[in-house]
Amino acid sequence: MRTEREQPWRYLAPAALLLGIVTVYPLAHVVWLSLERRSLLDPAPPSFTGLDNYARLAADERFWNALGNTAYFVAVSVSLELVLGLAFALALQRPFRGRAALYGIILLPWAVPTAVSARMWEWMFEPDIGVLNYVLGAQVNWLGSPAWALNAAVLMDVWKSTPFVALLLIAGLQSIPQDLYRAAAVDGASRWTVLRRITLPLLAPMILVALLFRTIDAFRVFDAIYVLTGGGPADSTETLSIYTYKMLFQSLEFGYGSALAVSVFACVALIAGAYVFLLRRILQ
């Protein structure tokens, strides 16, 4: 057994090494870059500036605007996905003929590249010749008005991610013991009571897990908005990832752009920490 005790690390090492190179090292490096004044366009060599970039960030209204847009996008899309996903899960949980085919269909929005779906939605959102306005008989300037554009991106995200939430919740529903439902039926409980007293409390951990995945994913949103609007109009759809990308790869400001990147990381870490804390409380 002695050999066995020594071996596990050898199996872990390749994955750990690779992950170290592509995640841990870059993360440490991005923190370092964020302390530098460094622009690819600047002929002067990079210089260490301490926390200057973070001071600039605190005073940067475009950063706060992007943070606000991101928070709005996350809050609205994730809550809609949860409500719709729960409805779908309840409708789908019992077996029926053709369920496999329907599963295939509801996997589609999730499985298609976001950049590709965004192109499809961009085409449907087109104000003059788009099918959405045609079907609704409306004249909505979906992607062109500051009031609508971010909501249009939310709409696309809800379409794309609700099936994923529904699938997770179905798995959660199936792990609830059927005895509980039978007992409730014997007691003559209404469907609403069953949902409130049995389904939701027992589903709570799975709901939290789904929320965790979706919140973090939505917070990182990039592809959809890059393709749909590029951040406009009037920066009304510029999220943190989009702003960071523009700062890094269009303005070529690697120092300040890295400070933005670190801020995204810090937000995601905070969110994940909060969820894990909640999840622990619930499971205890």
Partner: protein
């Protein structure tokens, strides 16, 4: 740390060069010429390059194309030039990049321009601190397209001022149901800056003057106010202009649903297609101006430059001179309908005979104004895009948008 990275980069580049390039002919020099996709048959450009090779024995030229998107090309060049890559020798640069690339020391200085050989706009844009860092290749500039048939029907003349345009557009739109007055490019992107500057410049306004930010001026306020009024007050421009890039605006006009269109010369070819609904009904004019200003189309276009890290400086310079020379520009204009950067060619009989439309653009290019020439242009443009977009979508008043942009651009240039 840095020097080690540079060392590794050099090693990597050497390894790549070894496997990526086809075996060189012995003693021969291979120049790599990077450019965006050209429309039409690539053979016309290749034939020119073959001619250059014959005139320079021992020099071979290989073309490598990049995606058409200007942002993508900017990213590619910046990254590679910054790493002092030797992987390409001659490159085609967008007019707005020259100053930034030149200040960074990435482009070879090409000496003084022959006076009068190129249009003033491109000549200004390729010059940084008194020296040329690229030579103009093609020019582009905003044009006003109008429905000749409708203006004739109602006995109206093409507008000379923006106010004329509003008057004409309202009159015709009132008589033809479903007809938009004037469509242009209002999405938050580089094209919006091109459009908005045409109003500012044609009212005597500017963004920068002698290195100072002069955005928040009475002329600019009046100009931007008129631009936003087109949408919100006069309603000659549909609100959906805030999503429009070149193509959606061209489609609206091409469907016969707009009286006026602001676009680049490329749109002309599409309207000449016999199956187009507006075939034979389209006229072009210089963009309107304010009563006290001059028509000021925004200048676009591509220039050729030499990578400062190229190992073949003299050969590369010769190729740039050759391709931007009169003969080459004439040939490319005839083959592709692209617009030469040399005014003399607009009097050339062969060109006028084969591309009569190009011949009509000389006045437009002579009047064309570059976007602010500053090494920080990309960042300045991001501010302008966002604040112009805010004004056009009604989120900020023109006055507030200009004041806001003024402050933000001052911060960018001040920190520089």
């Amino acid at each position: 740390m840095l020097s080690r990275r540079r060392f590794i980069a050099t090693l990597g580049a050497a390894a790549l060069a070894g496997c990526g390039r086809p075996a060189r002919e012995r003693g021969a020099t291979t120049l790599v010429f990077k450019h965006g996709k050209l429309f039409g048959d690539p053979r016309a450009l290749r034939a020119l390059i073959d001619e250059f090779e014959r005139a320079h024995p021992g020099v071979a030229v290989r073309e490598e194309t990049l995606p058409a998107s200007s942002d993508e090309q900017h990213q590619f060049y910046a990254i590679n030039l910054q790493a002092r890559s030797e992987a390409f020798d001659v490159l085609a640069v967008d007019i707005i990049w020259v100053a930034g690339f030149a200040r960074a020391g990435w482009l070879r200085e090409l000496g003084a321009l022959e006076p009068g050989a190129f249009f003033d706009g491109p000549a200004e844009a390729v010059t940084w601190e008194g020296k040329a860092y690229a030579l103009p290749w093609f020019v582009d500039a905003g044009l006003l397209y109008y429905r000749k048939d409708l203006l004739e029907k109602y006995g109206l003349a093409p507008p000379e001022t923006w106010h004329d345009l509003v008057g004409v557009a309202r009159e015709v739109a009132g008589r033809v149901p479903g007809m938009h007055g004037f469509v242009w490019q209002g999405k938050q992107y580089e094209g919006l800056v091109c459009n908005a500057l045409e109003y500012l410049h044609s009212n005597g306004g500017a963004v920068l003057a002698d290195g100072r930010v002069v955005l928040d001026s009475p002329q600019n306020r009046e100009a931007l106010a008129l631009m936003t009024d087109l949408v919100h007050r006069y309603r000659v421009t549909p609100a959906s202009v805030t999503t429009a890039t070149e193509e959606p605006s061209r489609h609206l006009f091409g469907q016969g649903r707009a009286l006026f269109l602001r676009n680049w010369p490329y749109a002309w070819r599409a309207f000449q297609d016999p199956s187009s609904r507006v075939h034979g009904k389209v006229g072009i004019a210089e963009l309107p101006r304010f009563p006290d200003g001059r028509s000021a189309p925004t200048l676009g276009g591509w220039q050729l430059a030499v990578n400062a890290a190229s190992l073949h400086q003299e050969e590369s310079k010769a190729l740039v001179k050759f391709l931007t020379g009169e003969k080459a520009q004439r040939r490319l204009a005839v083959a592709y309908g692209f617009q030469p950067a040399r005014p003399a060619l607009y009097r050339d009989a062969e060109l006028l005979a084969t591309q009569p439309f190009v011949g009509r653009l000389a006045r437009v290019f002579a009047a064309a104004r570059p976007r602010p020439v500053t090494p920080q242009y990309v960042r300045v443009s991001q501010v302008l895009q966002s604040d112009f977009s805010a004004a056009i979508s009604g989120l900020r008043t023109p006055q507030a948008a200009l004041a806001h942009a003024q402050r933000r651009i001052e911060a960018i240039l001040g920190a520089d």
